[in-house]
Amino acid sequence: MNVGRAIPYVDALERVDGSIGFTINLEVPGMLHARVLRSPSPHARLLKVDTSRAEHLPGVVAVLTGVDFRPASDMELLYGGMNGDQPVVARDKVRYVGEPIAVIAAETPETAERALSFIDVEYEDLIPVFDPYEADTEDSSLVHDEYDTNVCSYFKLRHGNVEAGFAEADRVFEHRFYSPAAQQFPLEPHVTIASVDASSATLWSSTQAPYPVRESVAKVLKLPEDKVRIIVPPLGGGYGAKNFVKLEPMVAATARKAGRPVRLALSTEEEFVTVTKHPAVVTIKTGVKADGTLTARKVDIHWSGGAYADTTPPVARGGGVTATGPYRVPHAWVDSRAMYTNLPQAGSFRGLAVNQVVWAYESQMDIIADALGMDPLEFRLHNLIDEGEEWVTGERMDDSHYKELIREVADKIGWDKPSRSEGHLKRGKGLSVTLKSTITPSTSRASLKVDATGTLWVLASSVEMGQGVKTVLSQMAADAVGVPLEQVRIVDPDTSVTPYDMTTSSSRSTFSSGGAIRNAADSLKAQLLELASEITEHDPTDIEIVDGFISSKNSPGKGLLIGELLQKSDRDELFAEGTLETQGGLDPETGQGKASDHWHQGAGAAEVEVDTETGRVAILRYHAASYVSRVINPTNVRLQNEGNVVYGLGPALFEEIIFDQGRVVNSNLDSYPIPSLEDVPKHLSSSALERPDAEMPYGVGENTLPSVAPAIANAVFWATGVRIHDLPITPEKVLRALRAKKEQN
């Protein structure tokens, strides 16, 4: 058995010796280098884009602008992961600082860079809108003139009678919590190489979503989808930044115009204007009885989606549906409004949408517990849903383990033991719990092939981005068929070879692609047993496959290797397909229905020490727990559970993209630091909860991330009595709050 074993990454050696083929290191013969001219204005009409001087520079091969997308041209301007609202390059107006206006392809990157300054652009500035509330007013300037509204996506949840719920309550609490924009920061930037001719296109791209990319590129190039091939080498990190479609349409269109392959790799500064975490304001009103029973929750969320939809609709939905938390809330009302704003597009960010709402509801849980004089752990346990309970969407929450998770982290942090404070160093502990949906409905397909060498080939389109998907899928495939791990080969995603998968996101690959592989394995095994039965004249039900060896159950040890079986039967290979489809969906008016095939469940507990003279928060100890149903690889699970914490420390404590009139002010590692190893808590640990009879693994890529910020904020509160509502929890904010509290007393 390989499942359940802590085997090393199957690509560990390539990662260490540097031979792993990231897209950033890839070169295609004859390729040109692209650079992008970007808008300096957050909102302006384009009066003139004159590229003639740039085109005549030696070494410049092609310049792509909006003019190339005239109605009769061979390319289409608009695409978009969700709404089809995004132009390949700006044509009539620009909608954010950093929006591509022109792409130059040249023999060298330096030539392309220099040529940018030879493009003449005239702008007529329009009034920009940056704030999602302002964007949601009648007289706001419109980001997209043709829509008559700045609402990009609006999710509603209506359950019970929320006003009656507040009437039943003894106390009603209302608070507002803010999360700013943040950067996903994969160490490998976005990079795409495109080779395009009149009838077909091949792209190598650092994307988490090969099939959605294929769809968009086909649309832009006016080609049938089967003429577009997307090849995805392993990614140097994704974190959502590479979900759905990013550079690919722009690079493909430039390559078509140039008649030669074109490569574009973004600079760090360009990453900041390509995708960000959604800034969000969450206003949460909660009714509670004197004994601590929740009666109602009403939540308003305003997301700033930036200029284009990208993955904003699933953000509005995913954050909206979970905004009341994993609690028993008889009466719930959620308005989740995602607005177009004149900022770079916001998109998927690890812990998608849930980071922002958990920050709100878990911070407020502690505020209420304090006001009621209840222990925060007891208060949560009193309200957390149990296995099989009905939830605010009306769905039954089977397989719910929130109480176990919160007890686990409380136990591991020593919740019942008071923290010791000394002088100006105040210590405290904080808890938080998280629930997160996975995209539902969704589809993953996988194919398996064994050949006459006995090799088992796994064809799936889940993208390896450092999360170890190749390793866990290898383990699952090896066991499902019955071959040694060494005989398994995973094929990198390539839409001409590997079958459909919706996306590598939403913590879904182990579950979805793994499930599709298991279904394919059932079919492949049946074929093998059938073949073996013909050769050996045993009944198929008497034959088993163990460790790549096919034998009769009655005479173990005597039999054939899979390769030998194929050779004897004169077969070159056997092939099988499998699919995993999930079902569900929500009513658009009420948000009632089935939100998620299963739920991602996590919890966290922090112990902090606050320097009350400087406001600096040190994380002494952190324990994370997630429910994973079944562990495929304990090492990978631990890396995800703890990696989430390290990743979450940045937005919790200091990461924040600062805009000045729509322009990003801090767009490199010097001005926008991310957590370093020295920022990792000295005591960082995690647990993975399993169900003994569970067959299918659940995802673990995000479960423990959203709790990091509220667990820390709650610990700061119990240490000092000050409450931070706006992320990040900087020393300056904490010191200001401490001073304000001192003045009150």
Partner: protein
Amino acid sequence: MLAEHKDEAKVISGGTAIVPLMQEKLLAPSYLVALYKVPGLDYIRHEPGLGLRIGALTSLRDVETSPLVRQHAPVLSYTASLIASVRVRTAATVGGSLAEANYASDPYGVLIALNAMIKAVGTSGERTVRMGDFITGHYRTALQPDEIAVELLVPEVSPNVSATYIKYTTRSQKERPAAGVASLARLDDSGACEELKVVVTAATETPQVIVEAEQLALNKKPSLSLIREIALRYSQQIEPLEDHRASAWYRRQLIEVLVQRSAESVLRIKGE
């Protein structure tokens, strides 16, 4: 070359200062004068009675790990260990990091407290500049366009001196300081203060010393109230700047707390 091209030319050694500036298009020199192959500027020597002599092309990592620096100026070795990351320290040179004069840097305060000097060589010859006069503004030094720094001289530190440096970051531990305080004190046998130096860095464009506050400690036995008074004067008399690491208000609070902690450490607890 520097004399010929003046501001059109810039010096590069480790590249950790100038390359980011060029990437951000804050600098676009026509010529880069590379010093990496200039021989004889990568050394750390100790000359009894004179002090430590450190060549301008010595890496910060070498300063951090040098047994000579550890022995004769341990606070400098400690301060070097706090700068950026091992990778950056291995590439960055002493001369480059001094000549960069980025206000948000760690080593300037300690070097001023240690009375360090910089030897500069230009077309008109050689001269020595006191570290306290070297940094004249953000990205500005006393170096003339045709001069380069060739050596850092750290005078002998007497054995009854204690010195320390506090680096304070507001975001990642690995980033540049939002404020730094270097302190150095010498106490006589009776415990009275013979010398106190306190330098605040990274809070303003140039390192700050409030001499009148330092002198409060002279010939007195240090007390908590004395240290508080010194800290208060530093925070009142320095006009901090504001950037994305901290506001001016916050830096003022930090100066008071960090000066107090730093002075307490050198005046009451002998160490470093």
